[in-house]
Amino acid sequence: MSTTFLPCGDYHQGYAEDHAWFQTKFIKGKMIALFLVLFVFIPISYWGSIFQSAFNIDNYWFSLIIRYISVFGADEYWISVFNMVGYTILGALGVQLLIGYCGQLTLGHGAFIAVGAYTSTLLILEFPWPEFMITLGLAYPVSIFIAGIMAGLFSVLFGLPSARVKGFYLILTTMAAQFILVDFVITQYVSQIGGRGQAFSLPPGTIKIGPWLIDNNYKVYFFMLILVILSCIIISNLVRTRVGRAWVAIRDNDISAEVMGINVIKYKLLAFFVAGFIGGITGSFWISNLAAISPEHFPWFLSLWLVGVILIGGVGSIHGAIFGSLFMVVIMELLQLAVIPLADTYPKLLMDFLFIKEATFGLAICGFLIFEPNGMAYRWWQIKNYFNLWPFSY
């Protein structure tokens, strides 16, 4: 937080101010503007239809106005793209915490997302909830929390080898999580619960928080925003306190960290727990978007993809996870839209788009490692400082 340069005449007068969320009124204004954009302007067509049905307006001009305003917001397609972004952000935050803050290389995060998704699904479908909890719509929210805990515990289990090994060897042990949890436990045993075969599908109406039924893309979008904001708050609070400093110390040099009196194993496992917890929440969020689940949703590639996201976004920064996810999802969609008109002349292009996408993923990682190893978050920081310090940027 304290990386923000303050305008002339503003000084911090204590630690609390030094670590405050909103350090100046201007920053507070910017944040309010950001929330307005996220909650109001992007889903404006949703608000329009709510407004229309709430006041029961059946006026031609009014609906015309609503339609014109909606042009500036995101339509359902873009909302579903943003939901994908949110899913990637939530997944990448856990990876960021492990790799970026605690220095524990992991390639098995997808498995913990799967654990979360399955825990939540099974709790909703199979657990004998007391009647009042179902009528109050508490089953899903409680299952999210339990899914987080479950995924966290599994993450700790597969993080245990980090007490002894690090670097490439740790990558291999975390990869085991994918093969043991997803390919073995979930496919062979968990998927068979209730005789459902492989795929679980959640009947409509089961995913609700209190009276709020999550049944369309816009509602998933709001739910996603809330989860992303909460997770960002949790992680940024963790990393600026004692725990976070211990993690950074371990990342920078685990031997000196131990010499300074940090219980290395405890903090490493804590990092695995928190990352797994957020992974579990990611999984249980994802089922609200899918309403169906099978082990095929969690290939090993998902873990690799998340690592790619934080490499592009910037290692060791929460902004990095967000920018990386935006880049990887939105840029790819834009690329696809750009390809569609070209397909009239080169019909093969649409079919080969997956190759283009994969090649772009690889190229983007190479490009960032060569030209901007600190990722997009660092670029953002530079741009921000340029304006903050302008015109005397020395």
Binding site: D75, E76, Y77, S80, V81, M84, D183, T187, Q188, S191, G197, Q198, A199, S201, P204, N217, N289, L290, A291, A292, I293, S294, P295, E296, H297, P299, F301, E333, L334, L335, Q336, L337, A338, V339, I340, P341, L342, A343, D344, P347, L350, M351, D352, F353, L354, F355, F371
Partner: protein
């Protein structure tokens, strides 16, 4: 620094130009019907998916060349999604944004994941997944396909094997026949007919052996075959795609398992004998369509268009999956024509005034007549079983499930 800036500028301009062109081309021309297509050219089922994808494009050309949909042209948007479900979901929302009238889908996993959304958005979804789950109109009203469903295929295969092969066995009447299944547990596609398989084993009186998990990517299945050897099955059911079925056949041949093989439609095509060699001799497979190049109505067009639009692939390399794709497209086109005549090309119109008016419609290609009713989307009840005799595919027998077990067909078996 200069170099970097110039390149980033060019990239940025290119991207912006591309996007603006992309946005502007979104405008809909009045006399075209948009169809989206999801195909797998690179993923787990690409061994059979490539030919299907080529077939889709060729069949759409054929429809457009022969007058389109009552004069309207079809515009096809075809994407490879690599058998990845999240990819399929975003592609689906793209199709919805482009206002596609109908979607030609592919795998079981994504078709079942999309089914509730498809029903909500009322977009007819013609899949290459013939999962029995998709036939129950109370759950998946907008899912359709042109083949007997997997469960009917498996029941038919078992029935035909029981009647034609087991009755000639010297142990017939002395003991129950033993059966086991090889499939990928994790794949909803491979495992979708397993419930029907176990049920049919009870109906016909089989001893059921332990299921073997064979990945769709498997190239070595010796441990599974060795596990089966202890059970000594008389017949093994395969529900994977060709690549892994061929691997299993080869290993059972090499390890002398000595069982007959019955194979679901996606594991039984022209590539099977090429990949499995002698091990494929005598294999029985369910195949609702004629094999590529056989003498059935419309097959001349199939071969002609294959030559015309993909001249790089020799005809002997094309497979039955091209014919399958043609069946899906021709069926969809017939429904579109009917809906268009009724003047209603909305999703609901295509379903109600198109598909659900089908009564014993013959679309050619050696496929049995297709019927849909508003309560039952099982298009056919007859499973045709072919045998690979070592040099060609021969029709071995067929079993009509509706005629054999009318009671169960009507009441019990819908939606498996």
């Amino acid at each position: 620094m200069q170099f970097k800036n110039r390149w980033s500028k060019i990239l940025l301009i290119g991207l912006i130009a591309g996007i603006s062109i992309g946005m502007s081309s979104m405008a809909i021309a009045a006399d075209t019907i948009k169809i989206g297509s999801l195909n797998d050219m690179t993923g787990a089922t690409s061994d059979v998916g490539k030919d299907y994808a080529l077939g889709i494009a060729e069949a759409i050309h054929y429809i457009n060349d022969t007058g389109g949909i009552n004069g309207k042209k079809i515009k096809l948007y075809q994407f490879d999604y690599g058998y990845r479900i999240p990819e399929a979901l975003t592609k689906y929302s793209l199709f919805k944004r482009m206002k596609c009238a109908a979607i030609l889908g592919w795998g079981t996993g994504d078709t079942e994941a999309l089914a509730p959304t498809v029903a909500k958005d009322k977009i007819p979804y013609v899949s290459a997944s013939y999962s029995g789950h998709l036939c129950d109109t109370t759950k998946t009203p907008y899912n359709l396909f042109f083949a007997p469903d997997y469960s009917t295929q498996v029941r038919g295969l078992m029935t035909v094997w029981f009647e034609k092969k087991w009755k000639q066995n010297k142990d017939f009447g002395k003991r129950k026949p033993r059966i086991a299944a090889c499939y990928m547990f994790a794949s909803p596609f491979s495992s979708s007919s397993i419930k029907a398989y176990k049920d049919q084993a009870k109906v016909l009186g089989f001893d059921v052996g332990p299921d073997q998990d064979v990945s769709l990517f498997a190239i070595d299945t010796k441990s599974q075959v060795l596990a089966l050897k202890e059970f000594k099955p008389d017949v093994v059911l395969h529900t994977n795609t060709v690549m892994s079925v061929a691997a299993t056949l080869r290993d059972s041949y090499a390890l002398k398992l000595g069982a007959d093989n019955i194979i679901k439609c996606w594991g039984f095509d022209e590539n099977l004998p090429k990949l499995a060699g002698k091990a494929a001799d005598g294999a029985l497979g369910c195949s609702p369509w004629a094999f590529f190049g056989l003498d059935v109505p419309l097959m001349k067009e199939v071969t002609k268009y294959a030559k015309k639009y993909n001249p790089g692939i020799p005809p002997e390399k094309r497979t039955i999956h091209t014919v399958q794709a043609w069946a899906s497209v021709l069926g969809l086109a017939e429904a579109l024509k009917r809906a268009d005549k009724a003047g209603d090309l909305s999703g609901e119109g295509i379903l109600k005034k198109g598909f659900e008016t089908f009564k014993d419609v013959d679309i050619g290609l050696g496929i049995a007549p297709v019927t849909y009713t508003p309560t039952d989307h099982r298009p056919q009840s007859e499973a045709k079983v072919y045998e690979w005799t070592g040099d060609k595919f021969v029709l071995f027998g067929s079993a009509d499930m509706k005629k054999k077990w009318p009671e169960k067909w009507e009441k019990e078996w819908l939606g498996w």
